[in-house]
């Protein structure tokens, strides 16, 4: 079991609704604790984390700021699409420290793409510092 979301050959942020050169979506999976993806206004906002092949997931951990409601969906297709609901969470507001949220998923959850939809927030802008996914690549 290891963090399969770490930006390497096998994972990528394939879609994001905000893009600022200074705080690009790649920052979510660069393994650095102090870089982040910033949303640039309005909600909902979303990003899709894609793996090069299907992954068996045991849990997901997200580190954010200002986030209120998030919905996580998964797709088992090779091309992202036909997303199915995984879970919804409402996070507590923090001030001066990050929100750290463990997202447990049902046993044997398989996904090739994870879609994170930020539905609402505690401020105009949200920062996503890191998403880690505990899981293992499925050998085809």
């Amino acid at each position: 079991m290891f963090d399969v979301a770490l930006g390497s050959a096998c994972s990528d942020i394939s879609v994001s609704t905000s893009f600022d050169d200074a705080h690009p979506p790649e920052n979510i999976i660069d393994g650095k604790p102090d870089t982040f993806w910033a949303t640039t206004g309005l909600f909902p906002q979303e990003f899709v984390l894609s793996f090069s092949s299907p992954v068996a997931i045991s849990n997901i951990h997200i580190y954010t700021y200002n986030l209120k409601n998030i919905m996580v969906m998964r797709s088992t297709e090779h091309e992202a699409g036909a997303f199915k609901m995984l879970t919804k969470k409402e996070l507590e507001r923090t001030s001066g420290s990050l929100q750290s949220q463990l997202i447990e998923v049902p046993k044997a959850t398989v996904a090739q793409h994870l879609r994170f939809i930020i539905e609402s927030a505690y401020d105009h802008f949200v920062a996503v510092y890191r998403v880690s996914v505990d899981g293992s690549q499925i050998q085809e």
Binding site: S16, S18, D21, P33, T40, L98, H124, F125, A127
Partner: protein
């Protein structure tokens, strides 16, 4: 809320999206938004029903950044209030408009301000006040002083505009866009001080 761009990866350009709302019947909200968008004031009055969406990109001086304003031009008539509620839930910016020839329209700005500020008191929303129809000097009943005092008391920026003469419209919306951009830079600067 507003439409969004999937895969919005315009490199080298920072796009900020901000929704904003306008208010009260026949004070000239639609005219102002049309002047901003098309440089043209509509010749005839068409009552707005519900809310119309107008998107306007504003370049931020001395940067390569753009703020894309999603302007919800709301109906002023009370009967549409339920349809508007949806739009004023979480605005990024608010622009209240009154007509300088109509005392009541200023009073109702106060009402709308309370409504906006009570929605999500934890989120600070920048509000501007536009005194419209400043070209109608003859029939003017609300003075600049009165408007300014109301704005100051409620922590709003004040602009005196005329949609008819295209006066001050760009300045008013430009200021909103600039403030939003400034807030973004401030917030992301703060985000940099945090880490996982």
């Amino acid at each position: 809320m507003a439409a969004k761009q999937l895969n919005a990866r315009a490199k080298g350009q920072r796009k900020l999206y901000s929704g904003q709302r306008q208010r009260d019947a026949t004070v000239g909200k639609t005219s102002l938004v049309q002047v901003l968008k098309n440089d043209q004031c509509p010749k005839t009055y068409t009552m707005t029903v519900g809310a119309d969406l107008v998107v306007k990109s504003i370049h931020i001086p001395q940067t390569s950044d753009v703020v894309e304003l999603y302007i919800h031009d709301c109906a002023g008539k009370e009967m549409f209030i339920d349809q508007i509620d949806e739009y004023i839930k979480q605005p990024s910016l608010v622009c209240l408009v009154y007509d300088v020839t109509n005392e009541v329209s200023l009073a109702s700005c106060e009402k709308w301000l309370q409504k906006v500020r009570s929605q999500k008191p934890e989120i600070s929303v920048l509000v501007t006040l536009i005194a419209n129809k400043s070209d109608l000097t003859e029939s003017r009943v609300v003075s600049q002083k009165e408007g300014q005092a109301f704005a100051e008391k409620n922590n709003m920026k004040y602009f005196e505009c005329s949609a008819k003469d295209s006066k001050c419209v760009e300045a008013a919306f430009g200021t909103l866009a600039n403030s939003f951009h400034h807030t973004y830079l401030e917030k992301t600067e703060f985000f940099k001080s945090l880490h996982a």
